[in-house]
Symmetry: none
Subunit: 214 residues, 4 copies
DNA sequence: GATGAATGAGCGTTCATTCAT
DNA sequence: AATGAATGAACGCTCATTCAT
């Protein structure tokens, strides 16, 4: 009680718990998707339900935190990889390949890849959007190098990524290398040799889908 | 025995109910996906639980019936549309467009589009597979006309369709015409101008993913 | 409508249906006990639910009818058998043996053998009680021949029969001849060599259990 | 971690609940048999459904626990009573009397008394079988004292007990002392004065009913 | 701060009985 | 009179969240 380090110890403990929860949740969500029982996460974390709910007042909060973490580290790795690659076209291709090889195994990640569009006003500001800067960087560089259709937007690439993520999920158990074919098709479709402009995001009108996109 | 219309009258009424259930279920499943409460379907059908379960002994049976119906009419419409179109490339494009415009609004349909791969041995013989013949026909014709990369399989096209269906789901509320862009990219990627062969479905070995592929 | 035989034909038809229902119900109740689904009975009868419920306004009514029938034919057969047997002791033994061999296979019969005591005022006047006269006849004759403890009542014998019926049910699948041992024990216990009087049915007081007992 | 009493305190409360559930379940099962609604048990326990299902993951588990408890205390009491009684014949009689007086009121107990035979391989290892040792002890002692027919097995006694339990159930409401008469008859039938051997459990053949019998 | 027991609305399903035809 | 479809309360069970300790 009077020990001034008690508070600190608590803090440290709490922080350890928080991390344990996130880590366990990450594993479980990767394996089983976001429909898992919260108990399973608590069990794997080694903490009680109360602790879990103290740190994350809602299952959704936990989910969001985990996904933010995943997307953040993902974005970081992607950024570094991009910086190491000189050829912008190859950088883009490898970004997709790595994403689909290493991230699309994570069921909850893939499940929520589309949430940025599904519920853009929902309290999920940071998730898919964390990836946006990297994708945009890759896009800009590829564009500058003439390695990408000129009117491809970041959103386009993000949506293609999400879509191919679903393909990975669908086929991973029965035909794990299948997605490489669809990826190739998409990448080829992004080739600047295709000169016809892509359809407008909207017909005009007011609802121009919010994003600046380009 | 007795009035020959008696049996039929009953039948007619029951059939009306059956259809009402399927219709309501279809609507509900389209809106909310396959996780809905059966009671909601019963409510919207205007029938009691017992009636629903008399017609469909299991929620899954109902689901399957609805989806089979949906896929069957879809396949029929696609077939007719294909027959009316001379240009094989345009036929393929319009198949995708119609599919994504009219079918991909249906949450349960999209949810189950990947089940052929996820659980190929599951008791869902007729669903995605109902579409296979049409896709294969379109593919063959496009191939013959030199309007498609030579090694594109029916599976490839089905997976692209499923993937783009997810894009529709993701964007339909916030940017309903968005998917047309990703579709264009994919279609362009299918162009025979891309001469490099697609990656093999598998690395060799025994697990060649089962499908003949086409 | 005007045909005077129409009514009769209906009657005949109805009677046939009624008998079909009873017969099917008997079979089903014998096999599966009184917890069966009424639909199963209707199915096996070849009639619709409405017909079944027209003849028997309640599952319980049907049950009662079936059981009354069973008990009646049983009682008749037992009566005839008793008349054919001179030795009263043997007659009693064979009554028990036949009952347990041939009747105790009927699950619903055994289940309801005790209902005479469980709910004596219930609307089940005729069931176990249909057997009472035969048992009483056997008892009287055995008593007269000095082949039975003097104060054994008809109720005593009926209860022993019900109890042994349970034994048959318990053991029929795993040890089908087992009940003969317990029957022997009971029969031996009924031997007049046992001179000590049986306990009084009640402690006196008013509730003398209703029966005259015999 | 932390207060060592914390775990225990919870435990104590949970234990109280667990006991409350068992007690309430015991009462309800005694009154209404094993077909009761689980909600009724929860209600009477004063706990929610979740609590009940936390302690007993299945209705069957609860049932089993209650019955095991009931049979265990019963067996214990019977054992102690047997040890206090010198006269083996009287010990056997009093065992039956106590069993029928105090245990056979319990509907679920009586319902499951026959399950050892009905479903010997079912997941009910401990129930009727808990009683076997006591019965066997009583039998052995009675046999040694020449107070029992020589070829009476433990199974015979258990089946007689189950059968008489049914008699208690049948008569308890309308003639609560009735069973004493049938018990006397059975006990008299067990007298070694009856020298004729009991029928064999089986006709020979292979299916010798599994039990060693004793 | 941590614990994990408790809560209860909700889910998929069954079945005795009623009723339109 | 016969049919069998319709009804809906009830059942066994799950799980996101709360709360006493």
């Amino acid at each position: 009680m009077g020990d001034p380090r008690a508070g600190r110890a608590r803090r440290a403990d709490a922080e350890r718990n928080r991390r344990a929860i996130i880590e366990a949740a990450n594993a479980v969500l990767a394996e089983q998707g976001s429909a898992v029982d919260v108990r399973e996460i608590a069990r794997r974390s080694g903490v009680g339900m109360g602790t879990l709910y103290r740190h994350f007042p809602t299952k959704d909060d936990l989910l969001r935190t985990v996904l933010e973490g995943e997307f953040t580290t993902w974005a970081g790795a992607a950024h570094r990889a991009a910086d190491e690659t000189d050829d912008p076209r190859r950088a883009l291709r490898e970004f997709f390949e790595n994403a689909l090889e290493y991230r699309a195994r994570h069921r909850a990640v893939v499940e929520h890849c589309g949430s940025a569009w599904t519920a853009p006003a929902a309290p999920e500001p940071a998730c898919t959007h964390l990836l946006t800067p990297v994708i945009d960087e890759l896009r800009t560089r590829a564009l500058a190098a003439g390695a990408l259709r000129p009117d491809v937007t970041t959103e386009d690439l993000a949506l293609l990524l999400a879509a191919l993520g679903q393909v990975v999920q669908m086929t991973t158990d029965t035909c794990p290398r299948m997605w490489r074919r669809q990826l190739r098709i998409c990448l080829d479709g992004l080739d600047p040799a295709h000169t016809e402009p892509l359809p407008r995001r909207s017909d005009g009108g007011d609802g121009a889908c919010g994003g600046a996109g380009g």
